[in-house]
């Protein structure tokens, strides 16, 4: 059963279906009405997927034009299956088009990241961190001191797993989906590891006097 928002209820009382109700009604009907709705939905998902890919210029260049178009088409097709499979969970708390777009955006981003990194090695070693020079002497001294403190904290307070994940995601800029695939895990688990690692680093740096905890953040 699809839930409806107060806005949808109001429009129903007034006798005029909202655009969202139109989408749901048409996608759950039969015949030419449903066929037309499916065609429009696929066009919308293609637009969402194409726009996501257009914003990822660095990865797009690594993949090549023909493969990029395959990514867009595949993402729209997979998003179509996802949207239709989850139609009954649409609560009407956002517009239907925004809700549907997010499936295409996710599929396109994940697929392009995967394709772009398909031939790249994911560095998961524990090579020592280096401190990057700063432009001015003052900035250099201050920045170098903080960088040293962070590097020491990474070595001292993070678990080997937290260190490996945090460095791969942030220092080596491995996309989280790619890292999850290579490690046989998922995005949630990796983000939780990073979340906990940040908490540990911040608590240690606060104790050492390098940063002030945010309100509600424990030392």
């Amino acid at each position: 059963m699809t839930e409806v928002s107060p806005d949808q209820t109001a429009s129903r009382r007034a006798g005029t279906p909202s655009p969202d109700e139109d989408w749901i009604a048409e996608l759950t009907s039969d015949g030419p009405v449903r066929d037309d709705a499916l065609r429009r939905l696929h066009a919308l998902l293609l637009r969402g997927a194409r726009f996501q890919v257009s914003r990822m210029s660095a990865l797009r260049a690594m993949v090549g034009a023909a493969q990029v178009e395959d990514v867009v088409t595949l993402a729209a097709d997979e998003a179509m299956v996802a949207v239709l499979g989850k139609l009954s969970t649409f609560e009407g708390r956002s517009r239907f088009t925004t809700w549907a777009y997010k499936f295409a955006v996710l599929q396109a981003a994940v697929e392009l990241r995967r394709q772009a990194w398909s031939r790249r090695e994911v560095p998961l070693d524990a090579a020592p961190l280096l401190i990057e020079p700063r432009p001015s002497p003052d900035q250099y001294a201050e920045g170098a001191e903080m960088a040293t403190a962070v590097r020491n904290a990474i070595d001292r307070v993070l678990t080997p797993h937290q260190r490996r994940i945090a460095l791969a995601l942030i220092v080596d800029e491995v996309p989280i989906d790619v890292l999850a695939e290579r490690l046989g895990t998922n995005r949630n688990a990796l983000y939780k590891t990073l979340h906990d690692a940040r908490g540990r680093l911040r608590a240690h740096l606060a104790l050492e006097g390098y940063l002030t905890p945010a309100p509600g953040e424990t030392r």
């Binding site: 914003r55 708390r93 903080m146 942030i170 220092v171 989280i176 940040r198 908490g199």
Partner: protein, 94 residues
């Protein structure tokens, strides 16, 4: 990467030590993000209330979710004919 090590850039330093905020999984971010971008685009206080309150910290800390949320915001703004500039500024700031 060579055996000599990895550079620790200012940006990486900032990302490693960013305040993680309340826990929100990437799956929950995905579940809520359509409501969040629309709340931002209408300029309502709803964007920082209730179950949306943990979104800004998650989007500050998760590059992939932030990249996708930005796209969604731009798509929704385009469909509505709304200037996305203010909403984009608030996307990770709450």
């Amino acid at each position: 990467m060579t055996a000599a090590g990895r550079p620790l850039s200012t940006e990486a330093l900032s990302q490693l030590t960013t305040e993680p905020g309340p826990w929100l999984s990437c799956d929950d971010c995905f579940r809520l993000v359509d409501r969040y971008v629309e709340a931002l685009l209408t300029g309502g206080a709803d964007a920082s209330a209730g179950d949306l309150a943990a979104l800004p910290a998650h989007l500050s800390g998760c590059a992939a979710c932030a990249e996708e949320a930005t796209t969604l915001l731009l798509l929704a703004a385009g469909d509505e004919g709304v200037d996305p500039a203010d909403a984009l500024r608030r996307l990770t700031a709450g």
